[in-house]
Amino acid sequence: MLKLIASRLATAIPSLIGVVIVTFLLTRVLPGDTAAYFAGPAATPQAIAEIRAKLGLDKPLPVQFVDYVSALAKGDLGTSLSTGQSVAHEITTRLPASAELTLSGLILALVIAVPFGIAAAVKQGSWIDHACRIITTAGVSLPVFFTGLLLVYLFYFRLGWAPAPLGRLDVFFSAPETVTGFYLIDSLIALDGETFRAALAQLVVPALTLAIFALAPIARITRASMLQVLASEFVRTARAAGLTSRTVIITYAFRNAMLPVVTTLGMVFSFLLGANVLVEKVFAWPGIGSYAVEALITSDFAPVQGFVLAMAILYVALNLIIDLAYGIIDPRARSEA
């Protein structure tokens, strides 16, 4: 097991080095001029030059790169110009916000999609199968910002059930003391039921928005993979041996059908984490996606580099976890590794 982890991590190192170089070069190739942007509306060429010198942007590229890498080695990701904070600090506070939202959305999607997919596979061609198809198609074809705005309009503006879409907490609550950065968990640790309820209330609608989007791939993969397994010989044998249909489907078939579902889950999670910018925008969620996009728009190099690097590390970690999960679900995967 340890050997597996070590070998996986070793293969990730070259890709991380690649990411560092590519993001550095890409941000420098972007057409925007950071200094001119931050010099403000009334800047003279001289003022722009002063800012450029202050930011070290007047040095030749190789020197800038060496500066960047040596700072990186010390764990310093630089400072964001658009928010004025250190990038490392921003990422550590924003990543949990995104992760909490994405995980909630994913769990919600999972709870709905997996039983739905199994049912659709077992009762192939029935109304439930058609319903599955329609819902997943609708979920994947509605853009998230649209579902988000629609849900806000319905649940907040029209019905008044949901709280105002103002981020992670209502303005009159203060955030629980940071332990994990997940408000739900932190408020439980602090035994603060009021804050827990407030954080949960803020989370429901954006999580639902994400879940609607994530529903489709999970349900479809579950269905397809279940269909394949249900048609296989061991299931026929199990049925012939007179096992109950419940045991056959859940214990035998579903366990074997889980591998592709887990792979998809990993992909959907990492995709959602970086790509739910629109949901974050709609719900004023202080997440990492909107942070990166804003930085990109203002040619703010440091956060873009930090974001890509953080994402790369996250992908590596996630892939490792998925690989390990394979081994637990299917012993055969262990020996192949």
């Binding site: 925007g32 001119a36 110009l81 705005l149 103002l166 009159f172």
Partner: protein, 540 residues
């Protein structure tokens, strides 16, 4: 105050009043109480720095500075169409209790009991240090100080503990007004020096995160990109104690949600709703909508006069006659702007800025002018705009493209991202573009100096050069400094007439700043910087 504290205090109040309600029920009145003393503001973007002297402080950052720091002097309000509007020509003390203007200097006497938010008294030393800082840090603050001929630390002299003198290096009408803008704010110098480093002698890193002034509010919590929380400074001496105890400023990127928050009554003020929403909300009796024209601001179509075909004044006039003015007013701005075109034929040029041109859409005349200039079949060019303000710029450019097409000028629209816009303007190579300029100091010669003068500043985006124009502008500045009203009037009229005849840029409209608030929120004031002043706002 955090939630726990006010919970306990609220329970205490409830108990004292003999109320026998269950705990959860106490929460709502407590919340309501906090709500009444708290102002919730929503806007699209927030500050990146709490100090206007910082490197690259953005415009929302100016709002934090304005409310957390005091200046020596400020402007009183006057009434313009029912809205309090800063009085350009009058000054009153903020930190200074007395101002005496001499021939080549001005002397300020500080208020006796004014203290910084940490309790230390405001002294002349702090004032000098702060003004020195503004003229020394470089970038925007230094540039803005220079606009009022405030250039060197030697100009700021400590006379005694409570007296500061500012020496003039030349006579300039803009010196005193420039001391009332956001930049020359007074900072707690001892506190900053304690937190400064060798690389950062002015302590910019410290003031980026901390407000250390004597102003009416202090920032108690700032989560960049998410929220800023301001608490009132109870010992503020700059003016009457503000009514609002606490201001929560939340960033809500989606315009639709900002409107929903306002309409549902959850947000008190929304600062930057799009024109379309404002136009629709005007009919909503539940909200207060205030639109005020930008002082000294004009959106225009600019043309690069150094290169053909726009080096020919006839071509520029043809463009001025071909623009779809009325359609822009109607379809892009929903009527929320002051037209800067279509003045009647007998309109006499006035001594003010902005004022309308006599151009109006006249395709036949435009065609004739273009033929006369040697382009009977038109030409091809690109029309550029700043994507950062796409809400206005994009539909505007599409209308302009369509209209110019009618006289044979084929344009390709070039969308430039916000980060890149200023770089492109600085290159001065864009042939045709739309842009907006607005000056903090509301004087015609100030506007013309930046936008039309041969010294070719960043804002002379057309690279316009004209000896006659320079003469008018320099003349007006000199006349203003010496108080020669007759010469000043002639020069201002001269520069406006020349700018309209030569049309290197075609004025389109004076934009409005739109603020929407709940009916129970009052006290909105219009300032030259167009940001919110919390100190006058009240609720209930």
């Amino acid at each position: 105050m955090n939630r726990r504290e006010f919970l306990t205090s609220a329970s205490a109040t409830a108990a004292a009043a003999g109320a026998t309600v269950a705990a959860p029920a106490v929460f709502s009145p407590a919340k309501a109480q906090a709500r009444a003393e708290t102002l919730l503001i929503v806007s699209e973007s927030g500050p990146n720095n709490l100090d206007i002297h910082g490197v690259g402080t953005n415009v929302p950052g100016y709002e934090a500075s304005w409310n957390c720091y005091d200046r020596l002097i400020t402007h009183p309000m006057k009434d313009v169409n029912g809205t309090p509007y800063y009085d350009r020509d009058k000054f009153e003390g903020e930190l200074a209790e007395d101002m005496s203007i001499g021939d080549m200097s001005v002397t300020f006497k500080l208020k006796k009991d004014a203290t910084f938010q940490d309790g230390t008294p405001v002294t002349a030393k702090d004032v000098k240090w702060s003004l020195d800082r503004a003229v020394s840090v470089g970038g925007f603050p230094t540039f803005q100080m220079k606009a009022g001929s405030l250039e060197k630390p030697e100009q700021f002299v400590v006379v005694d503990d409570r007296t500061v003198r500012v020496d003039f290096i030349r006579k300039d009408r803009l010196t005193i007004p420039d001391l009332a803008v956001i930049v020359p704010c007074v900072i707690n110098s001892e506190l900053v020096k304690k937190n400064a480093t060798a690389q950062d002698p002015w302590g910019l890193e410290y003031t980026k995160q901390n407000t250390v002034g004597s102003g009416a509010y202090k920032v108690t919590k700032w989560t960049p990109g998410t929220e800023v929380i301001f608490e009132r400074f109870e010992n503020w001496k700059g003016g009457p104690l503000p009514k609002i105890k606490r201001v929560i400023w939340r960033m809500v990127p989606s315009a639709g949600n900002r409107r929903a928050l306002l309409e549902r009554g959850d947000a008190d003020i929304s600062y930057d709703l799009p024109n379309k929403d404002f136009a629709e909300l005007k009919g909503n009796s539940k909200l207060n909508i205030i639109s005020t024209p930008y002082s000294n601001g004009v959106q225009y179509i600019g043309m690069n006069v150094t290169k053909p075909p726009f080096d020919n004044p006839k071509v520029r006039q043809a463009v001025a006659y071909a623009l779809p003015y009325d359609k822009i007013m109607e379809a892009v701005l929903f009527g929320l702007a002051n037209p800067m075109f279509g003045a009647p034929a007998d309109y006499q040029t006035q001594v003010k800025w902005p004022q309308p041109t006599k151009y109006k859409t006249d395709i036949a005349k435009a065609k004739a002018l273009l033929a006369d200039a040697g382009y009977p079949n038109g030409f091809e060019t690109t029309l550029s705009f700043d994507l950062g303000f796409a809400g206005i710029n994009e539909p505007l450019c599409v209308l302009v493209q369509e209209s110019l097409g009618q006289i044979g000028i084929k344009t390709t629209i070039n969308k430039i991202p916000g980060a890149n816009w200023r770089t492109e303007l600085n290159k001065k190579e864009l042939p045709l573009f739309t842009n907006v300029f607005s000056g903090w100091l509301d004087y015609p010669e100030y506007f013309f100096f930046w936008c039309y003068h041969g010294s070719n500043s960043v804002f002379n985006t057309m690279s316009y050069q004209s000896a006659a124009m320079d003469q008018f502008i320099d003349g007006a500045r000199a006349a203003a400094a010496n108080g020669d009203k007759a010469a000043y009037d002639t020069d201002v009229k001269g520069m406006v007439d020349l700018a309209f005849a030569d049309v290197p840029r075609v004025p389109l409209f004076q934009p409005y700043v739109n603020v929407a608030m709940q009916k129970n929120v009052t006290g909105y004031e219009y300032w030259f910087h167009r940001r919110l002043d919390y100190r006058a706002l009240q609720k209930g």
